[in-house]
């Protein structure tokens, strides 16, 4: 399956890119998606996660075609 991965703000700057396309086997969680792409970089504490534009947990399963986003605490308003 394919997962569209996005990074925002300081996390994007840190990783040096705005996203990744992950081709992988089915049955992954959000945490697995991160680990598959960043084996050397643990997910920074306080990182927020969204799947298909909705907040999600790291344990949520990811399906083919999903958009998974990782971003730091929000600072709008």
């Amino acid at each position: 399956m394919v997962v569209h991965v996005k990074y925002f703000a300081s996390l994007r700057d840190r990783l040096g890119r705005a996203g990744d396309e992950l081709e992988t086997v089915a049955g992954l969680t959000v945490a697995d998606v991160w680990a598959a792409l960043h084996s050397a970089t643990p997910l920074p504490p306080n990182t927020l996660v969204a799947v298909n534009l909705e907040y999600a947990e790291l344990t949520q399963s990811v399906r083919d075609g999903d958009e998974v986003a990782f971003f730091p605490p929000v600072t709008g308003g």
Binding site: K6, F8, A9, S10, D13, L48, A50, L53, E54, Y55, A69, F71, P72, P73, V74, T75, G76, G77
Partner: protein, 154 residues
């Protein structure tokens, strides 16, 4: 109910006056209370002079999340209407960043819902601020506490 992101400077009071004109056609005489919040860019933060700021957002999710939290407010308080506008892109000191306006029959619901929307926006709407100070640029790490600071004084 109207939710909008703006990538250019906007005038909250003018926007509010326009929106209110349309609202009066539908709701004149029904609402007794409007609670409004306007957030404006300061020229200082954490002890440093800030010259410019970039507001990044997550297109698609930001609008959806704002919609969701306004709907939550409508579910939890008897509201008649709500307007939320938020800047994205480059902002300068004294530029408005956010406008939240809530109309209700009575003031208690208007105050509480306006406050709720602002706090929920601050903690859940995917916006990020990068400040440019004289020494360079930096991401704002986290927002100030909201409800925690707001208890009535002793």
């Amino acid at each position: 109910m109207h939710i909008e992101l703006r990538d250019q400077p906007f005038q909250p009071l003018a926007e509010l006056a326009m929106y209110q004109a349309g609202l009066d056609e539908r709701l004149a005489g029904q609402y007794g209370a409007a609670a409004i919040f306007i957030g404006t860019m300061r020229d200082f933060n954490d002890g440093d002079t800030v010259r410019r700021m970039t507001l990044e957002h997550y297109p698609g999710m930001t609008e959806r999340q704002l919609q969701r939290l306004v709907e939550t407010a409508f579910r939890d308080w008897p509201l008649l209407d709500a307007l939320v506008m938020h800047r994205v892109g480059t902002v300068h000191p004294n530029d408005p960043i956010v406008l939240v306006a809530v109309w209700s029959v009575h003031r208690a619901a208007a105050f509480a819902a306006c406050r709720f929307i602002m706090e929920a926006l601050k903690s859940t709407a995917p916006f990020w601020k990068r400040e440019e100070t004289v020494t360079g640029s930096r991401w704002v790490e986290h927002n100030t506490a909201g409800f925690l600071e707001s208890a009535p004084p002793d």
